[in-house]
């Protein structure tokens, strides 16, 4: 059994999610190959060679693969997928984009966003925003699987450099091209890989207070900043802050929820965090039902006190 992990990268370095997907691949078992597809991505391919437990890095280099566009990447994956029992990727905006395309071209089902490997052909995934889990057994010859990164630990350490195999270029489909990319600039850790996340909800009352109260706390803890959908919809922060079913799923060591009531769709995005702290003035807020430590009170007083005490 040989598995292909399709790595997310920016042509220079690998995304943190790759090591989480590797752990899922190791749980399935078998020889692991990594695909690096991009343009000017030799540095990413080199970095992949020393990932732990990787037997081969397949490297595809072409201008048509530069921006990770779904159409061209899916054609490439489809071309080589018959060599593999499994094709794995992170269930990120990247993996969600191209993986179903490759699965359809292979005429196989995709198992999305798995949180558990039950057997090499059997996987568990959350449905209904995580209210329910479902276990599926795949009957397909190639299993296309996307992995929820936070459900698997990052594979640690380095391995002996794996051989690098260059793949032939794929003619670009010309169906789509990137016109603009605007990434939020931030000195903070990325939300999905941060060890500590400070998240704010509508209880903050305004974008100004969100910033004034939560940024100093996040600075003290070297934390990423997150938000509930209610805070995003109220315009306090941009959408890429959103934690929840329709935003990002996080599982840091410490999650501090400030002024967040705890709607089901928010809980779906953070309840796998190791330690949860909730600060809310409403003692009956549902967030307290998942919090390890709850503090009832006025966040305008509590948050500055907490920042000062750290």
């Amino acid at each position: 059994m040989t598995l292909l992990v399709v790595a997310e990268h920016d042509n220079h370095s690998l995304k943190a999610s790759v090591r989480h997907v590797l752990t899922a691949a190791q749980a399935i078992g078998g020889e692991i190959h990594v695909l690096i597809a991009g343009s000017g991505c030799e540095a990413a391919a080199e970095a992949a060679r020393t990932l732990p437990g990787v037997a081969c890095v397949r490297w595809a280099e072409d201008p048509s693969l530069a921006d990770g566009g779904a159409e061209n990447l899916a054609l490439l994956v489809t071309r080589i997928a018959r060599d593999y029992s499994h094709v794995l990727a992170a269930a990120s905006a990247f993996g969600k984009n191209w993986a179903p395309r490759a699965a359809a071209q292979l005429d196989v089902a995709q198992v999305s966003d798995i949180v558990r490997v039950d057997a090499p052909d059997t996987f568990t995934r959350p449905i209904y925003a995580g209210s329910v889990w479902a276990t599926y057994r795949s009957t397909d010859p190639v299993k296309v699987v996307t992995v929820r990164p936070t459900a698997f630990d990052a594979a640690a350490g380095e391995g002996a450099p794996a051989p690098l195999e260059r793949l032939g270029a794929e003619p670009g489909s010309g169906l789509s091209s990137r016109k603009a990319l605007s990434l939020s600039q931030s000195e903070r850790p990325e939300l999905e890989s941060a060890r500590v996340v400070v998240s704010g909800g509508r209880g903050l009352g305004s974008g100004e207070r969100f910033k004034a109260l939560l940024e100093p706390l996040a600075d003290k803890l070297n934390a990423a900043l997150g938000a509930s959908r209610a805070a995003v919809d109220s315009g306090y922060v941009p959408n890429d802050y959103q934690v929840g079913q329709t935003g990002k799923v996080v599982a840091p060591d410490l999650y501090i929820a400030v002024g967040i009531s705890g709607a089901i769709q928010h809980l779906a995005g953070m309840k796998s965090s190791r330690v949860i702290v909730a600060i809310n003035k409403d003692p009956d807020a549902p967030i307290f039902s998942v919090a390890d430590y709850g503090l009832v009170g006025d966040l305008n007083e509590i948050v500055p006190q907490l920042t000062a005490a750290l």
């Binding site: 779904a70 159409e71 905006a93 990247f94 969600k96 984009n97 993986a99 179903p100 395309r101 699965a103 359809a104 196989v108 089902a109 995709q110 999305s112 059997t122 449905i127 209904y128 925003a129 209210s131 329910v132 889990w133 479902a134 276990t135 599926y136 795949s138 009957t139 010309g174 169906l175 789509s176 091209s177 990137r178 016109k179 603009a180 990319l181 605007s182 939020s184 999905e192 500590v196 803890l221 959408n239 890429d240 079913q245 329709t246 990002k248 089901i264 309840k271 330690v275 949860i276 702290v277 307290f288 039902s289 919090a291 390890d292 430590y293 709850g294 503090l295 009832v296 907490l306 005490a309």
Partner: protein, 250 residues
Amino acid sequence: MKILVPVKRVLDYNIKARPKADGTGVELAGLKMSMNPFDEIAMEAALRLKEAGQATEIVAVSCGPAASQETLRTALALGADRAVLVQCEGELEPLAVAKLLRAVTLREQPGLVLCGKQAIDDDANQTGQMLSALMGWAQATFASRIELQGASEALVTREIDGGLETLSIRLPAVITTDLRLNEPRYATLPNIMKAKKKPLDTLTPAELEVDTTPHLNLVQVFEPPQRQGGIRVSDVAELVGKLKNEAKVI
């Protein structure tokens, strides 16, 4: 330009899903069903394109049981011109839905397919991408802004990890909608009445010559491990003490 909008009938988003006692599925009997919220956003996007004079006809399509007619009537009440039901019993996997939609797309020849990025029941996030692949078309997923540039190109801004990406895609194409694209309208009573008279055709997988046999076997549906609520602390000093000495996370 004709726009095809696939819509799915799902358990209403206000209702908490629970597994059936025997673990063979999710309990749906007697519960309120609604149009998938992401599909409402797709329908709204189609309606706005039509209102802007950039689309001529909106066709809603649903693959599912006979009761999906209700969802299609909702789409018609919102402003779709016609509806197509591909009537199927039993579980349909995203790949099967994509194959059915491909057959409908070949019949209807739309210039654009607009669908929700995922359904809130199975959360698969696959069908739009699969349909696009089966058609050999371009795709733009997770759209937060759509601008048609005539009949052969669209500019689509997508919500990706850490920011936004704008793609130029060749039409026809499949675009899947994210939350921030728009706020869907409600159907008005006069439009609900009018919708009852709009055409709704019914097809079957056999007529479309599509095999919908599942590729996955459902082993079990169950409640996930529950997180236990913890304790209340009385002040910041106690909280910091617990985080340092008990949880050891700071």
